[in-house]
Symmetry: C2
Subunit: 394 residues, 2 copies
Amino acid sequence: MARDRPERARDARWRAAADVLAQVRREPGITRASVARRLNLSTGSTTEITARLRDLRLLTETPAPVRGRGRPTTVLAPHPSGPLVLAAELRQEDWRCAVATLDGRVAHLQTGRHAGREPGPVLAALRQVLDRSWRRYGERVRAVSLAVAATFVDGDLVQASSLGWGPVDLTGLSAGTGLPLLVGNDATLAGVAEARTGSAAGAATALHLLVEVGIGGALIVGGHPVTGAGGAGGEYGHVPFGDRRLRCPCGARGCWDLEVDGRALARHLGDPPPADPHTYMREVLDRAPRDAAAARAVATVASALASGIAGLVNAHAPDVVTLGGFAGSLRAAAPAGFDEAYAGGLMTFRRAQPPPVLDAAHGDEGALRGAVAVGLDHVTSEAALASWAERHPR
Amino acid sequence: MARDRPERARDARWRAAADVLAQVRREPGITRASVARRLNLSTGSTTEITARLRDLRLLTETPAPVRGRGRPTTVLAPHPSGPLVLAAELRQEDWRCAVATLDGRVAHLQTGRHAGREPGPVLAALRQVLDRSWRRYGERVRAVSLAVAATFVDGDLVQASSLGWGPVDLTGLSAGTGLPLLVGNDATLAGVAEARTGSAAGAATALHLLVEVGIGGALIVGGHPVTGAGGAGGEYGHVPFGDRRLRCPCGARGCWDLEVDGRALARHLGDPPPADPHTYMREVLDRAPRDAAAARAVATVASALASGIAGLVNAHAPDVVTLGGFAGSLRAAAPAGFDEAYAGGLMTFRRAQPPPVLDAAHGDEGALRGAVAVGLDHVTSEAALASWAERHPR
DNA sequence: CCGGTTATACTCGTGGCACGAGCATAAGAC
DNA sequence: GTCTTATGCTCGTGCCACGAGTATAACCGG
């Protein structure tokens, strides 16, 4: 975002406007008066800012339902010809694509199964879906945001093991449109969604952990993920919480990954490594209530999950931990073992008030909603608003 | 920092001024022309901002040594009657106290040995030192910043094992002065110093690890530590990278702490747990070059350190890792074992360009310099500048 | 039904910042 | 001694947020 010319002021002028839009997103359907209170804005400033946002087709104001005395206020909502974000998620078997408005609501959701296994056809199909959306919405679309269960370095997909992909060039998804393409790991984005509007809403520091094949996660500080250099962080599955004698496909040893998914269950049950650890885990979880061996294996895995979580809590002191994917099911299947391992792994001084461990609120919508959030962050940034304003002179 | 009245604008107006002061701190001795270039400020704005900062006794301008053609510019430096920060560090045996100016330089350093072992006398002595400083500098002192090898929760010291302290009330150190008392863990603050002006300078994400008794550390993002809820994070010594059969005094099992300090060396050498693990480690490191058993123990510990670091690198993808305390010595004593364990613990895709692991640049000054940095962050915040300006009308 | 109460909206003058264009200035270079 | 280069200074402009004052739209109670 570095610029040649001094344009600090151009962007800074949109600071309050960006804050208002962020507030609308935090509390969809919020009234103008509430926004003023939350942001410590004077009524005069609020009048001016909302008028400006209305003129720019960013917001609309509709009369708010009256509640008690006082002059009625208005509800702030996205403008019907305001900016949009296209968010998409590539999952193991299928894709989903959403069109989202400034308040973070999904206006239009499409889903479908992948055209094949190879990146080429899958991406071509997704590009077609995206193309349809921006033929339909045109200039209103301001960003494309994509979630994939993959590792990204500097915005490049370097590996997506659940899809069976190595390095893949994603730039074709937005090439020729001039739109920014934002990409992110699915667990990271699910964590963002939880921290913004899910079970961790309002937490300054939140830890999200997602068990699918292996374990992914994200530390979210102030609503933004801590993703490290090039966004390659969040590989919580590859910290050595496990048995050092086990070698992980990632190249390291003793990875936590190996202790918490279907492969771990199979090891404990004496089965060969499952071809599809995801399905295998679902089967074992299903039969655990009436199969003592399965129940023991599940309890072992739940303990391994919980003690690792405790270690991460010691390291990061999140306000709350959220569980996605199978993580919630594992805890539900072996609550006593989970709780014991969690408490036992905490430092004594943390045990008085340990961070609550909550199931994710967004379920399997998390990654997509996180992608929406990141896309909207981009669209409501000061710089993006300044640029939108230049395209929409009053 | 929430306010009753709308004062957004009051603070926002100091944004550029705060940026200028931050730049002066990043590059002490910087010229005005350079600041303008770095911050994308027009020359007109720069003239105005520096004039304002001069009038407010925040900066001085002195002619810069001429270099080549062009109109000579000026060097920006702290004003001789500008704000100051008192920074102090409580260490195991002694204390140190610094008076720092806006460019982050330490104007006056005092040190001394503790008056006793109990918190009361130690804090009373420190308070006397602080009192002398602000009798001398008066209103110029704007904040007190303290580093201790301790765990803090919500600004309260809950435990300082190296000092043998339980919960201690530190508020007496600034009571009655009206000055904010900022406190922080020594390893965290040392990490801040490395990330700002040390070996990790310029890194967006940096990981600092400090081995003394056990291991502490901090993840620093954008120059600010990720310290979690109540600032209680950064306990990297208590993630379960070690042997689960070992119980840690912290209450958990398998803590990394137990694998990387003097206690670990004693275990590997068959010695009883040392009363002073710090001194014990120094002795073993000293004799390792001529004692094969000591060398083996050191190599084992260095490997445990390196493989844990690799796990944290997998999780956080820092741009750089810095080593403080004994961590650098351990690596130096067993470089091959360290490097092998580090590379072996990384995910394959990270091995092509692993984050460099560097010795800390600030040595044992890190925590104090980090405390200075945090204190100056406070003093040069927009709100603090606005408040300073109100006390110094032009 | 009508003034009182309450909460919010609108108006307008003020202060203040950063910009940009134009001009001024101090050094080295030829 | 002029030219070039880099920087500083001045001033008019645009714009934002504030705050005080005024206006408005609901409810409330007699």
